[in-house]
């Protein structure tokens, strides 16, 4: 499985899908996050492999 981490939330998704698809599956928008794997930025077309841990950095700030 693939682990997605966003702020204090975690999800598991199936491998073999793209980052974009995974982000949408957990209810987020790719426009609002930057996916990072092993400390490196990855693009949303990257296909996720079993065991991947993807940190989704929230980009929206406000107030």
């Amino acid at each position: 499985m693939v682990k997605l981490i966003y702020r204090d939330k975690e999800w598991e998704v199936r491998p073999g899908i793209t980052v974009k698809k995974a982000v949408e599956e957990v209810g987020l928008l790719i426009e609002a996050v930057i996916p990072v794997k092993d400390g490196k930025l990855i693009t949303e077309d990257t296909v996720l492999k079993d065991g991947d841990v993807i940190k989704l950095i929230a980009v929206i700030s406000g107030g």
Binding site: E31, A32, I34, L41, T43, I57, V59, I60, G63
Partner: protein, 323 residues
């Protein structure tokens, strides 16, 4: 996905520009685009002294970083608001100091609101506005202090890290309520149109928030990830989420929304009537421009002049002891 320029593995894809770039070319693109924005809107020149308002967040620290790399004389200004919740002010100050220590060529001004004026922002809000409208009060204090430091320090302009998402969200809010006064003035540059009023510019106004975040991450800029605790549930974040849904279905919409608005104003295709504001005059206490008679809103908040003091100030007399 491959970098459009060199074919290496891309780290950032920007659907809005139909452009994917590797790390090195993204950084190069980002810095060049900032420079182009500065020149496009005639924000400031190479020889001008710029004061960058830094909060410890990704936008302001990235802006300061880019301006220094471009060779501008850019000093930083951090306002310690005294927000203790989750150590917000303490952590943000540490991030700013850390950045500044790596850039000895730039000066960092730190303004401690509690030390200077006796109360932190939350304390002012509790005392004056029953704990409500903290953001409005924060904005009032920050604008006053940024203006004060810019004028006292002889800076040509204050540069803030407002990005395209900030501008588009503000524009959406202004349009939804037809705030024509704000629409008339919204733009990348707020000119200094009164003595004592500093010029304000937004060099990141064409940068997506995702783009500034990517720059900070790629450059290893350590910024505060947590939001200001008072920003939770804010209208601007709500509008940003709405616009991102639009952007998902129609890449480039946010940029087009904002830039087309600016272009329509410039070409005269749309005109917004500025509300007839009362004339500006210098605050009797601090000298900053204000529409209020006697004292500006900041001085009334901080110094709470008595009725006699206010009347004396209105008559132009300043024989009251403010100590």
């Amino acid at each position: 996905m491959r970098c459009r320029k060199c074919g290496k593995e891309a780290v950032m894809n920007m659907r809005q520009h139909k452009l994917a770039l590797c790390r090195d070319h993204y950084i190069e693109w980002f810095i060049e685009r900032t420079e182009k924005t500065i020149r496009l809107y005639k924000m400031f020149r190479r020889e001008d002294k710029i004061l960058v308002a830094v909060s410890g967040g990704k936008d302001s620290l990235s802006l300061w970083d880019v301006l220094l790399r471009l060779g501008y004389k850019a000093d930083g200004m951090y306002i310690n608001l005294g927000i203790e919740h989750q150590g917000y002010s303490q952590v943000s100050l540490e991030k700013v100091k850390q950045f500044a220590s790596a850039h000895p060529e730039a000066e960092l001004h730190i303004v401690d609101i509690k030390a200077l004026y006796g109360r932190s922002i939350p304390e002012f809000a509790r005392e004056s506005w029953r704990g409500q409208r903290v953001c409005a009060l924060c904005g009032l204090v920050k604008r006053h202090e940024m203006n004060r430091l810019a004028i006292e320090g002889g800076y040509y302009a204050i540069a803030t890290g407002h990005n395209l998402d900030d501008e588009a969200a503000a524009l959406l809010g202004n349009v939804l309520r037809w705030q024509t006064g704000y629409l008339a003035r919204q733009g990348p540059v707020l000119p200094s149109d009164y003595p004592g009023l500093a010029r304000k510019v937004k060099p990141f106004c064409r940068m997506y928030e995702r783009e500034t975040a990517a720059y900070a991450l790629l450059m290893g800029i350590d910024y505060i990830y947590d939001e200001c605790p008072y920003a939770v549930g804010s209208t601007s974040i709500f509008y940003k989420n709405l616009l991102n849904q639009l952007e998902r279905n129609s890449p480039g919409s946010k940029l087009s929304f904002y830039l087309s608005f600016l272009q329509a104003k410039e070409e005269g295709r749309v005109r917004f009537k500025e509300e007839e504001a009362p004339p500006l005059h210098a605050c009797q206490r601090c000298g900053q421009p204000t529409t209020a008679p006697g004292y500006c809103a900041f001085c009334r908040l901080v110094y709470k002049p008595s009725k006699e003091e206010v009347e004396a100030a209105l008559e132009g007399s300043t024989d009251v002891d403010f100590a």
